[in-house]
């Protein structure tokens, strides 16, 4: 087996006549935290659900050398998945949920689970339906991080959580799960939340992968050029998708090797690059 944990070859997915994924090719190597960034409806969740075998698709997806179509159940021994935390079974109590997951997963690490449980202060006898969203997130983290799996897929897991829980969520994942043998793929449209932990980024738009690159390399490749407003035309020559105007200045994201005299250059964040690459094509950002 090579370093590719996930190999996606030419997959397409239709919902009726709507083509949600268009001939996607993608390779994801082990030991990386990768962000899958796209607007609402770009195809992030569809792609993840295809990877997990929840949706039918054309093309081929292999995870750890095994075809998803033929080994769906076996692959779940190696993959943990956290979608929106509201998909926990509301009818079970916290204890019943933990017992259920631990009994079904051979990769369950009881010691780790006990330690996480001690820290989480979850009310064991309370029904999941009566937990706050923050508590549900803690429970989902507990049952996921107690599994000794190789790949963790996160599909907008912090949607609707407050900033404290969002930070705690990603810090816990980093501290308890990640090492150089494991891979995390995070789907989100709130890139600023995860930017600091990402090593690689994938931009998806309109069902197509438009970029896959190392985050630092990508940030080195681009710069934000700022000029006084009267020199706007010097930016427009390079045809950026977006030009921002602020306090008598205009700025745009351009390739770093472009030369504009006396322009102020600053390092972009991922959302700047995302808006440049994807924004402008569609209304919603």
């Amino acid at each position: 087996m090579n370093d590719n944990y996930i190999s996606i070859n030419n997959i397409s997915k239709y919902y009726g006549k709507f083509r949600a994924l268009k001939n996607i090719d993608l390779n994801i190597t082990k030991g990386k935290i990768i962000g899958l960034l796209g607007k609402n409806g770009a195809g992030k969740s569809t792609l993840m659900r295809c990877m997990l075998g929840f949706l039918n698709y054309s093309g081929e997806i292999e995870i750890m050398g095994r075809s998803v179509k033929n080994h769906r159940e076996k692959l779940h021994d190696h993959i943990a998945f956290i979608p929106d935390v509201n998909c926990l079974d509301d009818r079970l109590t916290v204890q019943q949920t933990i017992d259920y997951v631990s009994a079904l997963n051979d990769s369950w690490n009881q010691k780790k689970a006990e330690r996480l449980l001690q820290n989480s202060k979850l009310p064991l006898k309370r029904k999941v339906a009566r937990l706050s969203k923050g508590m549900k997130t803690k429970l989902y983290l507990l049952i996921t991080l107690s599994l000794e799996v190789d790949i963790l897929l996160l599909d907008e897991p912090t949607l609707g959580l407050d900033i404290v829980f969002r930070k705690e969520f990603f810090n816990t994942i980093l501290g308890e799960f990640f090492n150089e043998e494991k891979t995390i793929l995070i789907s989100t449209h709130q890139v600023e939340e995860v930017e600091h932990i990402l090593q690689e980024i994938i931009f998806i738009d309109d069902g197509e992968i438009i970029l896959q690159k190392d985050v630092e390399e990508l940030k080195d490749e681009y710069a934000i050029f700022t000029l006084p407003s009267e020199r706007r035309s010097e930016l427009e020559i390079h045809q950026p998708n977006v030009i921002n105007s602020t306090l008598g200045n205009v700025s745009a994201l351009l390739k770093r090797d472009i030369e504009i005299p006396e322009a102020k250059l600053s390092r972009p964040v991922l959302s700047d690059i995302f808006i440049e690459k994807v924004g402008g094509k569609n209304e919603e950002i």
Binding site: N56, H76, D77, C87, D89, R91, D99
Partner: protein
């Protein structure tokens, strides 16, 4: 086995309270009965002709049919609750938005579906048998009190009728399970409506064009119907009653219809699971 018992446990945790409802209904019924008897007794309206009853001879047929009758209410409740449970067996997790969570576990869909099928039938059957035994004990204590108990026909009256209900539960349950794989909500109602609709369509076509299309409703009724049981003569003695009970096993259990019912149920389970397995989780 560990995984299967975890799945069964989960079914118990999520549906245990529904499964137990017939027990509460029956206990409530007996409680009300006790209260009304107590009330009548203290008011002086409780007037049993004990001497008259005790004077009569024992009729095995009465023992048999009284116990057949005692199965009716638990049987009806069991069928109702099997349908209620099974019609949401495969679609409830989707409705409750937790299908993704369960599908993310490393477990075969076939095993998960089997756990739902088995739990739906077994739990309802178990409750049914508990209630049947409770009724049997109460009714036969009363018969014994009036010196009318003849255990053999009493027991087999209860037993043979219970087997009939278990078989009917298997068919009804499997059909409801099948409907749950196809329809998202009110599965049995929708399935039933389609069956009746097709039946009427075929009927109309048969009348209009003088065709001879088979009517699905007839197949359905024929599948559920047991081959005719004999009727026990009211004055049959114990030997004749035993003979009748022995013969009745052929009508109730040992026949091709039973085999057909088992095959149909198994097939419906396989088809339902296959449909469910291929459903996309969006």
């Amino acid at each position: 086995m560990k995984k299967f018992s975890a799945l069964i446990k989960k079914e118990w945790h999520t549906h245990g309270s529904i499964v137990l409802v017939p027990i509460w209904i029956t206990l409530g019924f007996y409680f009300l009965l006790l209260i009304s008897f107590g009330f009548a007794y203290f008011k002086g309206d409780f007037n049993l002709q004990l001497a008259e009853i005790q004077a009569q001879i024992k009729f095995p047929a009465i023992n048999y049919y009284v116990n057949v009758g005692s199965v009716f209410m638990p049987g009806l409740m069991s069928l109702l609750f099997i349908i209620i449970f099974m019609q949401s067996a495969l679609n409830e997790d989707i409705q409750k938005n937790c299908e993704l969570f369960h599908r993310s576990q490393p477990i075969s869909i076939w095993l998960r579906s089997f756990s739902k099928f088995i739990f739906g039938l077994m739990s309802n059957w178990l409750v049914f048998l508990m209630l049947v035994i409770l009724n049997f004990i109460i009714i036969n204590i009363i018969l014994a009190f009036f010196n009318q108990l003849s255990f053999y026909p009493a027991f087999f009256g209860m037993f043979q009728m219970s087997v009939k209900y278990l078989k009917t539960g298997l068919i009804f349950g499997s059909i409801a399970f099948f409907c749950s794989a196809i329809f998202k909500d009110k599965a049995v109602f929708q399935g039933f409506a389609i069956l009746v609709g097709i039946n009427f369509l075929f009927l109309i076509l048969n009348v209009m064009f003088k065709w001879n299309l088979p009517l699905p409703w007839n197949y359905f009724v024929n599948l559920i119907k047991n081959p005719g049981m004999e009727v026990l003569d009211a004055e049959a003695d114990l030997w004749q009653t035993k003979q009748f009970i022995r013969n009745n096993w052929n009508a109730i259990l040992w026949n091709w219809k039973t085999l057909l019912q088992i095959i149909v149920s198994g097939s419906l389970f396989v088809i339902s699971t296959y449909i469910h397995k291929n459903k996309e989780i969006k």
